[in-house]
Amino acid sequence: MPSTTETVPREPAALTRLRRDTNLAWLAAFAVALHLLEAALPPVIPGIKPGLANVITVAALCLWGWRTAAVVTLLRVLVAAILLGTLLSPAFWLSLGGAVAALAMLGVGSALPGRGLGPVGYSVLAAVAHIGGQLLVAYALFVQHAGLFVLAPVLSLAAATTGTLNGLAAYLLVREWHTEAAHGDGPAGDQT
C-alpha cells in the first residue's frame, strides 16, 4: 500500500473534502452493487431479503457519522431503483420507507450516551426499524388491512437474524478499515 500521509503530513481542507466525497461515492456504489445483487438472487424465503446493503449504511455511520450514512443510503435506494427500473413503483416506496425508518432509528441510536452502540447494535436497530417502516408504508399505501401484520412475527424474526449477521459483517468491515487506516491511509474523514 503506497503511503500518502508521509509525503503530505497536513492535507489541505479541499483534499479532505475530496477524500470524503470519494469515500462517499465508493460506499454508495458498493451499496448499490449489493442492492442489485440481492435483487438478482432468488430469495431463500419469499418476501425476506438479507438486506446486505445495510452493512454499508452501518459502516458509514460508524466511520463518518449519521449524515454520511443517510446520504449513502438514500443515494443507494434512488440509484438502485433507477437501475432496476422500479422508480416510484411500490417496491421503491417500500424500500424508501424502510430506509427512512432505519435512518431515523440510527439517528436515535447514535445519540446514546456512554460507550454507546457499535455496528452490531446499529445493524439490529436498523433492521427492526426497516421492516417496521416497510410494513407501515405497505399498510398506508397499498393494503389497508390489518391482516398484513400477520406477517410481522416472521419478518421480525428475519430482521433480528439478518440484523445480527449484517452487524457482524459491518464490524469486520469497520475493523478492517481501521487497521488499514492505522497502517497507511491515516485518519479518514471526520473521524478525527
Binding site: L63, G65, M105, A111, L112, P113, G116, G132
Partner: protein, 346 residues
C-alpha cells in the same frame, strides 16, 4: 469512532419509541354477536366495545321490535295491520297506525321520486306469482291472469295519503293491495338501530339477511361491507366502508326464485309489466336510512341502470344490469373499492 456528546435524550427517545410500538400492538376490542331468526331471515347484530349484559339486553329489545314489525306487516297473515288495511283501503280512507303510519309516507315519496319503479302495493301480483312465502311455484301464472290484474290497476300509482285527525290512506285502484316487502326490512333495520343506541350500544352492525345498517364504527375503523357478485355467492365484487349510521341494501334476482323452462323467475316484479323485472341482476343503494335505501334498491333494480338518474347525485347507487355489466353513479364510484376481476368496475 464518531460519538456525539453523551446525553439522556437518546435513551428517552428509545424508550418512547418502544412505548409507541407497544401501544400500536393493542388490538381492536373483541366483537360480540347476537342473532335471531326474525322477518323470515337470519338477523345478526355485531357489537363493539360494549359489555355482554348491555349488548344482550339491547339486542333482545331490537329483535322483539323486529318481530313486532314483521307480525304487523307480513303478507301471509290475515289478522295483522297489513291485512286490515287491505280489507278497507280500496273502498274508503283508512286511518293509519304504527308501523304503517311512519312507513307509508316514506314509501310514497320513493314511489313518486322513482317514477313508480318502486311500487308498495303490488300485493295481488305478488300473490298471483306465488312469491309471498316458500315453497314457490313451479311455473309462472297465465299471462291472461297477469293482464287482468294489470287492467284492474295492480301496477298503477294508487296510494293516496291525507291528513285529517291523524294520517289516513287509501288505494284508488281495485287491483292494488299493499305489500311492503320492498321496504319493511329497511324500516326494521332503522328501528333496530335506534333501539340499540337508546340501550347503550353505540358501535354495531345490524345484518338482516344481507341488508345492513351500521352504528358508529368498528373500533378504530369504519364497518366494511363486501357487495356480493349476483352470479357467484362466494365472491365479493367490491368493498365499501360505511359512514357511522349508514345503511346498505341490495335487491337481487337470486333471492326468491323458481326455475321454469330454463328461465329464472324472481320476486321483484315490474309494475309496468306485472312480471319479474329483467333490466338488472342486482341493485345496491347506500343511504343514511335503511328504509329509503331498501325502497330505492328495489326501484333501481326494476328501472335498471337508467334508474341511477332518478336516484339523484347524492345517494350512492350500483346496478349490475341484465348483461352483467356494472353501472354506478359518481358518488358510488368514489365509495367502491372494486375487487372483482370477472365483473369490470363501473
Amino acid at each position: 469512532m464518531n460519538r456525539p456528546e453523551p446525553h439522556r435524550v437518546g435513551w428517552t427517545l428509545l424508550l418512547g419509541l418502544l412505548g409507541i410500538i407497544l401501544a400500536g400492538c393493542q388490538s381492536n376490542p373483541e366483537p360480540r354477536h347476537g342473532q335471531a331468526f326474525v322477518m323470515g331471515t337470519l338477523v345478526e347484530i355485531t357489537g363493539i366495545g360494549v359489555s355482554q349484559a348491555t349488548f344482550t339486553q339491547a339486542t333482545g329489545a331490537a329483535f322483539r321490535d323486529m318481530r313486532a314489525i314483521h307480525d304487523a306487516l307480513t303478507p301471509v297473515a290475515s289478522d295483522n295491520a297489513l291485512a286490515a288495511f287491505n280489507r278497507r283501503a280500496t273502498r274508503q280512507w283508512t286511518p293509519l297506525e304504527d308501523p304503517l303510519r311512519s312507513l307509508l309516507p316514506r314509501a310514497l315519496s320513493v314511489q313518486r321520486a322513482s317514477g313508480n319503479a318502486f311500487n308498495p302495493h303490488l300485493g295481488r301480483l305478488v300473490g298471483l306469482w306465488g312469491f309471498r312465502e316458500p315453497p314457490f311455484p313451479d311455473g309462472p301464472p297465465k299471462q291472461a291472469a297477469v293482464k287482468a290484474l294489470l287492467a284492474a290497476g295492480a301496477g298503477d300509482r294508487a296510494l293516496r295519503l291525507r291528513r285529517s285527525d291523524g294520517l289516513e290512506a287509501r288505494l284508488t285502484r281495485p287491483g292494488a293491495a299493499l305489500d311492503v316487502g320492498g321496504i319493511a326490512k329497511g324500516l326494521a333495520l332503522d328501528r333496530a338501530a335506534r333501539i340499540l343506541r337508546q340501550n347503550g350500544v353505540s358501535d354495531a352492525l345490524i345484518n338482516a339477511g344481507g341488508d345492513l345498517r351500521a352504528l358508529g364504527r368498528r373500533g378504530d375503523r369504519p364497518w366494511r361491507i363486501g357487495i356480493r357478485n349476483p352470479r357467484d355467492r362466494d365472491a365479493v365484487m367490491a368493498v365499501v366502508a360505511l359512514e357511522p349510521g349508514e345503511a346498505i341494501v341490495t335487491s337481487g334476482d337470486y333471492e326468491r326464485t323458481f326455475q321454469h323452462d330454463d328461465r329464472r323467475y324472481h320476486h321483484l316484479l315490474d309494475p309496468a309489466t306485472g312480471r319479474p323485472a329483467r333490466a338488472a341482476r342486482q341493485a345496491t343503494v347506500l343511504g343514511p336510512r335503511a328504509t329509503e335505501a331498501d325502497a330505492w334498491s328495489t326501484a333501481l333494480f326494476v328501472a335498471g341502470s337508467d334508474g341511477l338518474d332518478r336516484l339523484g347525485p347524492t345517494q350512492p347507487g350500483l346496478v349490475i344490469d341484465g348483461a352483467g355489466n356494472a353501472h354506478a353513479n359518481l358518488v358510488m364510484r368514489s365509495r367502491l373499492d372494486w375487487q372483482s376481476q370477472k365483473v369490470p368496475a363501473p
